[in-house]
């Protein structure tokens, strides 16, 4: 609503510093990086939303064989994916602890938490690769079925985003390695934490989607009008 109020101003009637200068001073000073992160998360959300729309549409074609639902399907027992989910959750918690500790200038907990966050995130990626390997070993190749194609597509794009997050995390922590104060890590780690939580929530949604049964897909597709 604030935006609507702002674009209802009549600028030709407002001359002088009283209006304009004061308006800028009153603006909440959200760090630019957080604003940019919000926009970036919106971009990533659109990306996954669009893939999901195509997924739901494609799932209604006869040749689509869901990866879960029947006892012989590989993701009917998703225990490997649960382990990976646990790793990503641990990573998400650890990075939050790191951000919390950094703001309070506690170097040891920050370093530990950062180490755990990075390690578990990397393990998550390795875990996903192992799931790929298992699928390939069972004969579930990218091209064998559209459900497989989507599994590889989703997990690859999600993984690339996590990899990008790890690069960003490295850039943030570089400051401390260069001799900066632990406290200076706070804002950067807080952004990384937001990104991590987002990727974790996104993974939960993907996990639920990819391990659902054909009946669930049919229901969602019908609700969406496909």
């Amino acid at each position: 609503m604030k935006f609507l109020e702002k674009i209802s101003e009549k600028p030709w009637q407002q001359i002088g510093p009283a209006d304009g200068a004061a308006l800028i001073e009153r603006m909440p000073q959200t760090p630019p990086a957080r604003v940019a992160l919000r926009f970036f998360l919106a971009v990533v959300s659109v990306l996954f939303l669009l893939i999901t729309i195509t997924f739901l549409s494609r799932s209604q074609v006869a040749d689509f064989q869901a990866l879960a639902g029947a006892p012989w399907q590989p993701l009917t027992d998703p225990s490997r994916l649960w382990v990976n989910t646990g790793l990503l959750l641990l990573s998400s918690i650890a990075i939050q602890v790191a951000a919390y500790s950094a703001v309070r200038d506690r170097s040891a907990p920050t370093a530990w938490a950062l180490g755990i966050a990075t390690f578990t995130a990397a393990l998550f990626l390795v875990g996903q690769l192992m799931v790929w390997r298992d699928l390939v070993a069972l004969g579930y190749f990218v091209s064998s079925n559209p459900a497989n194609s989507y599994f590889y597509l989703y997990t690859a794009i999600h993984g690339v985003h996590l990899l990008g997050g790890l690069i960003a995390l490295t850039l943030v922590t570089r400051k401390v390695l260069a001799g900066g104060a632990i406290r200076s890590l706070g804002p950067g780690l807080s952004l990384c934490a937001t990104y991590w939580h987002y990727l974790f929530a996104l993974w939960l949604a993907l996990f639920a989607l990819l391990t659902s049964s054909p009946e669930t897909y049919r229901l969602i597709a019908q609700l969406c009008g496909f």
């Binding site: 001359i15 002088g16 209006d19 990086a33 926009f39 971009v43 659109v46 494609r58 559209p146």
Partner: protein
């Protein structure tokens, strides 16, 4: 609260210390803007040459041995994609966006200068990947700029080995580049405006660029998704878009994919893309028209709202590009309706430009000529859009030259005219130099009249039923001989227009050679970029202190004021009054310049 405004934060400013950091690996938004613009114009010239080659074939079929059906389709594809994505998007947002956002909102640079630099280099890489496809076996893809599957990746289409892969990878890299730049533009506009620069005091240029960037951030993912999924189909054999198909007598492995799904994704990007190009053009042309008509823009608030509404609506009209692909009739009705609705705010903008000109003190400068030319071509292209937005009219016209005429008028010629208007308008700011007016006017008239000579007859060809995308008509019984004659005349006009662009290039180089120093504010502009302490602006833009904004961007010909413009950073008590009785009570006069003249009537230039 006492704080350093984000606009004034200097820690992100990397002061260049060597030639490399000043001109190559620069993080200064102005240098990056010039890098973007130069690259975009370079690649755009390649696309102009490609269009000339296409026209040679269409005007004089079979006369040129070096053009065969494959190369013709490759020219069509590369021309379209380069023009839409690598020239127009990059030039409006990467070029003008980079240069103007920080200067017009009164900040020292983009909020993330390093990311901004990366954005340009990723863009350059995407261009190089695209151009590399000319040199790989099989050449670039000839799938048409929309890259529709299944033919885009099937044997028989030119460039299916390497060309299509390079095109898709190049697009993916471009989108990464755009996202880095786009995040910068929106964050800078939202967070780094100088004191007094409220949203509604921003010039329309910034509104156009800002909204277009938001559209780009939300629309380009659709193209990215299409590109990645098509790469999966092509390289990994998946069937996202590929149906069961027999190609060259062989049953392929694909099955069940939907080519129409690709079209939906593509146009979910493709239609907002039209406005990603158009909205910055609307903004730039609004500021140019107001400045050169010495009159405040008519209906500023409406103009802002129209930009925002057009931006929103642009996401729900995409399927009007797909009427001939087949869809539920209710869908056709829905998309036809939204298409007609989006014409309302668009028409409102056109009325406001015309009403701004109405009784204005119109100066027919080179930028103004191009801006007025834009109004003509945009009305023309917009009206034919109303025809094509209706399903029943679109069906017979969709695959004809009527569509080619329409989209070139609305999305080719119109934004390009604005680009020229804007380059001529801001050239004295960017370079600090004057350009040759006479050469500029020759450039305008040949381009403007030539564009009509090229694209107006195409509408007629479309009505005759001349199909687009055809390499040659052969002996087509229903086409009269005059169609061939018209095609030949279009080709001659197109080549003349193409060659006339050398006037523009020559003008820039001659100006750089002659070095006639321009007045710092030769057009009498109100916006902040013309009020910098140095011309062209130095690194950091504003010297010691940031400007403070006291008014909107359109205080032209204020009654009683001595000058016919009052810059945004002039405080009420600093305004000079010719007739004090008209001055508001809180405005105190102070003398700073010569009387009764707009600066473009003075000649303060000198040669160094």
């Amino acid at each position: 609260m006492n704080h350093t405004p984000i606009a004034d934060q200097q820690e992100g400013l990397h002061h260049p210390r060597s030639f490399l950091t000043k001109y190559i690996w620069s993080q200064d938004h102005k240098v990056i803007a010039i890098q973007y613009a130069a690259t975009a114009i370079f690649v755009g010239l390649i696309a102009v040459v490609l269009s000339g080659l296409m026209r040679l074939q269409l005007g004089f079929p079979g006369s040129f041995d070096f053009i065969n059906p494959s190369s013709y389709y490759q020219f069509v594809t590369m021309h379209g994609m380069i023009m839409v994505v690598y020239l127009l998007t990059a030039l409006f947002l990467g070029g003008f966006g980079n240069y103007l956002i920080p200067l017009m909102i009164g900040t020292r640079d983009m909020v993330f200068p390093f990311l901004n630099m990366l954005s340009y280099w990723f863009y350059l890489v995407s261009v190089l990947i695209l151009l590399a496809s000319f040199f790989v076996p099989g050449g670039p893809t000839g799938a048409g700029w929309t890259l529709y599957p299944p033919q885009a990746i099937l044997a028989g289409t030119p460039g299916t080995d390497w060309g299509i892969v390079l095109m898709l990878v190049s697009l993916a890299v471009f989108i990464v580049a755009f996202t880095m730049g786009g995040l910068n533009y929106v964050t800078t506009v939202l967070q780094a405006r100088t004191r007094g620069m409220t949203l509604m005091r921003m010039p329309l240029t910034i509104w156009g660029i800002f909204t277009a960037t938001v559209l780009g951030l939300l629309a380009f993912p659709a193209l990215l998704v299409s590109a990645i999924m098509m790469l999966f189909d092509k390289l990994l054999g998946s069937s996202f878009f590929m149906p069961a198909i027999i190609s060259m007598g062989e049953q392929l492995e694909h099955s069940g994919g939907s080519p129409v799904l690709f079209q939906h994704l593509f146009w979910f990007f493709g239609h907002p893309e039209v406005y990603i190009v158009a909205l910055p053009a609307f903004g730039l042309v609004s500021d140019i028209i107001a400045t050169h008509a010495r009159k405040n823009i008519f209906g500023y608030r409406m103009m802002v709202w129209a930009i925002v509404i057009i931006g929103g609506l642009s996401f729900i009209v995409w399927a009007h590009h797909m009427y001939v692909s087949g869809m539920n009739p209710y869908f056709g009705f829905f998309f036809a309706t939204t298409t007609l609705i989006i014409a309302v705010p668009t028409a409102l903008k056109v009325y406001n430009w015309v009403l701004t000109l109405w009784q204005g003190n119109i100066h027919l400068t080179v930028p103004m000529l191009f801006a007025i030319g834009f109004i003509f071509t945009f009305i023309h292209g917009g009206l034919t859009g109303l025809f094509l937005g209706n399903v029943a009219v679109d069906l017979p016209l969709s695959d004809t030259y009527f569509v080619v005429g329409h989209f070139h008028m609305v999305m080719g010629v119109s934004p390009v005219l604005v680009i020229f208007a804007a380059v001529y308008h801001w050239f004295p700011k960017v370079s600090g130099l004057r350009f040759n007016e006479a050469l500029g006017k020759w450039h305008f008239w040949i381009t403007f009249l030539g564009a009509y000579a090229v694209f107006l007859p195409m509408h007629y060809l479309g009505f005759l039923g001349v199909p687009r995308r055809y390499y040659a008509m052969g002996d087509t019984a229903f086409l009269p001989d005059s169609a061939a004659g018209l095609n030949a005349s279009i080709t001659v006009a197109a080549i003349i227009v193409g060659v006339a662009q050398l006037f523009f290039i020559a003008n820039i180089f001659l100006s750089l050679k002659r070095r006639e120093v321009s007045d710092p504010n030769p057009w009498g502009c109100t916006t902040l970029e013309w009020q910098t302490p140095e011309n062209p602006p130095a690194h950091g833009n504003w010297g010691e202190k940031l400007p403070v904004v006291y008014r909107w961007a359109y205080d032209f010909s204020v009654p009683g004021a001595r000058w016919d413009f009052i810059p945004q950073n002039v405080a009420p008590e600093q305004v000079e009054w010719a007739d004090r009785s008209l001055a508001p009570a809180d405005h105190l006069p102070r003398h700073t310049g010569t009387e009764n003249q707009s600066p473009d009537e003075t000649d303060s230039s000198k040669t160094v």
